[in-house]
Symmetry: C2
Subunit: 397 residues, 2 copies
């Protein structure tokens, strides 16, 4: 009586692997500044709960497997406001962006087939591919040049007859990279020439800074039949617990095929779809003060980290993550030590080691991901604590 | 640019395949009595919406990947009230029973491995196994003897070195069968002797009639390490749209392994978990009048159908489905004809053909599944319409 090999081979989330040590620290009365998870502290717009509270439900019935038609309409209207061509019939509502990614992976790849992903990548991409026995193949990108994509030749060299798609997040988690229009066009060109799908995880679309606008793959008009856009209300509207995402595509076959998966699991949660409809109806100006707040936080955190002796932190242009290279032998050991051995005035900091965000062994060993989802004074204090800690850390290099 | 073979090979839900014809009929002003889906008309207990309305949420954050601890506690308390030994640490909350079944399938089976399932079975079991390239192997059961399990020898003959589990629903969908304690013990014995898991879908647990109590696999004390119990609030509390289910097991490895899948998709929907906690705290007496109502409906529908010339409908002992053999060549053709060609006083009936609930080709061709989730007067009228329709149906045998 053995569990499946693919199940046993899956890794625990590195972001959450340190949680027991954090729990123990908290039990000792230590205050922890959590830079480790991308859980925004921004208030969920009140229209979300209002819409749910005002719903009269006698029988909480199954919703449409494609999603609540009003939410689909609101999502399509949102796309049109930002110049993307997705009609209601192009959109399926999913249990978070997570389910949308899982469906995209299994829709394009059979057992043992490959999906290219720039690394470091959101580690859960592994949880979305491994159960389907789909292989992720990394395209390594480097902190030194801002996690830009490598040359066309280097990307094409990774393609073989098992390659089915390129998946990428833009703006990127965990790097905060915002791909240039040229990079987006390069991926579109490669996908076209090598007959691949593009799985575009654009859940951080609104979070680009210094006036930059992230280029959507939905703007690549001559490859729209091979583009699958993944979205979510989680980060966009600070509604992570709603578990409402979506998948949009101009591919003619996909919506009907995906509906088979949709009908299998019946529907996304009814009430959270009602709340999410209200979110997608918000005026686009909703994002302005929030984007400004994240940008300010980014500056505080990245400038602060970069000023620490031995730390390298290039300022990312999007999402709300940054990767910092630390002057330590092993970032996971350091992250653990911060929870088990170090406090400053009974406070410490929790960071996410980046090693597991890479598929290639040996990459990212001295890197951590930090999320700037805390308020400015907390970020300043976190930087101060990290600075002091690195000064006394025994395994400093 | 092809979609995956496993995706294309999946079938649309037979229950939903007829929906376009129903939509057209409704557009012509025809009233349809829907016996085709298991969407109860019972009101969702008001505590569900009350609990959600009374929740003050500033930031709708990710919930625990294992599930909201209060819901887990309430689920464990529910199990203890009915004599099952599941502690909070044995339970994971899922996106409906659907996700629990998917996880169970992928947790026990690698690519190409097999899970035995008595047929006819809930067709979505296919949607839960096919994307993981897990094979379902049918154990055929027959309407003639009330869909009882075959002999030990017949079941064991289906087992080979790829077999990893036996999955079954009890009370059963689509048959309404309630397995005897001897049948449950037989499955437990076979699982033990052949080193298999038991995936026990017990979402209809409370719906057994004439004083019968469904035996849970959680009562099979000497095989508890190989039993995986799947549950859901959907049918139990008429809260299908909540998408809250659970998976419970005494296996020591499974909860930790499944948590990897749980962390991958982050969490189940927060608000719906809060509502579901209130549901699981309801007094067990909640089920008494509902069970009585379903039993009355069962009698009206099954007695009514059995009285129609040429129809065979054995009265099922559980769930809220029955299978009826019709005097027609092909039940799907008949079901479609009812929507496209037949009306009585501008009304018709929608039924679900059973053929696709069987894996074995050629089985169930003249059978339909009917759900008794409508009120008694509607069921009586539906029987009347079916009686009249069968008298004039051109492909009657």
């Amino acid at each position: 009586m053995k569990l499946s090999k693919r199940m046993q081979a899956m890794q625990s989330s590195p972001i959450r692997r340190l949680v027991p040590y954090a729990d123990e620290a908290r039990a000792r009365g230590v205050k922890i500044y959590g830079l480790n998870v991308g859980q925004p502290d921004i208030e969920t717009p009140s229209v979300f709960m209002d819409a749910i509270r005002n719903t009269e439900i006698k029988v909480l019935a199954y919703a449409n497997s494609k999603g609540d038609p009003e939410l689909i309409k609101a999502t399509s209207d949102y796309y049109k406001r930002i110049g993307l061509p997705y009609e209601p019939e192009d959109i399926i509502i999913t249990n978070g962006g997570s389910e949308a990614l899982m469906w995209a992976f299994v829709a394009v790849a059979d057992v043992g087939e490959e999906i290219l992903v720039p690394e470091p990548f959101y580690t859960n991409y592994r949880s979305f591919s491994a159960p389907y026995s789909v292989t992720l193949k990394p395209i390594t990108t480097y902190a030194e040049n801002g996690f830009a994509l490598p040359s066309e030749d280097e990307i094409v060299a990774k393609i073989n007859d098992k390659t089915r798609a390129i998946a990428l997040s833009n703006p990127g988690n965990p790097t905060g990279v915002v791909y240039t229009r040229e990079e987006v066009e390069l991926i579109a060109k490669i996908a076209k020439e090598h007959d691949l799908f593009i799985i575009a995880d654009e859940v951080y679309r609104e979070f680009a800074y210094e006036g930059l606008k992230a280029t959507s793959f939905g703007e690549m008009t001559d490859v729209l039949d091979r583009v699958i856009i993944v979205d979510s209300v989680s980060k966009r509207f600070s509604a992570c617990g709603a578990r409402i995402g979506s998948l949009a595509t101009k591919n003619k076959e996909l919506p009907e095929q995906l509906l088979k998966l949709g009908q299998g699991r019946l529907c996304a949660p009814t009430l959270e779809m009602i709340g999410s409809t209200a979110l997608y109806k918000l005026d686009p100006s909703y994002f302005d003060p929030i984007r400004q707040r994240y940008e300010e936080r980014r500056d505080v955190l990245c400038d602060g980290l970069a000023a620490i002796d031995g730390v390298v932190c290039m300022k990312p242009m999007g999402a709300f993550y940054a990767i910092a290279k630390l002057p330590v032998k092993n970032a996971e050991d350091f992250a653990k030590w911060m929870l088990t051995d170090y406090t400053d005035n009974n406070e410490t900091v929790m960071v996410a080691p980046v090693e597991d965000f890479y598929q290639t062994l040996g990459m990212g060993v001295d890197e951590v991901r930090v999320a700037y989802v805390l308020k400015v004074e907390d970020l300043k204090r976190a930087v101060e604590i990290l600075d002091k800690a690195l000064k006394v850390y025994p395994d400093r290099v």
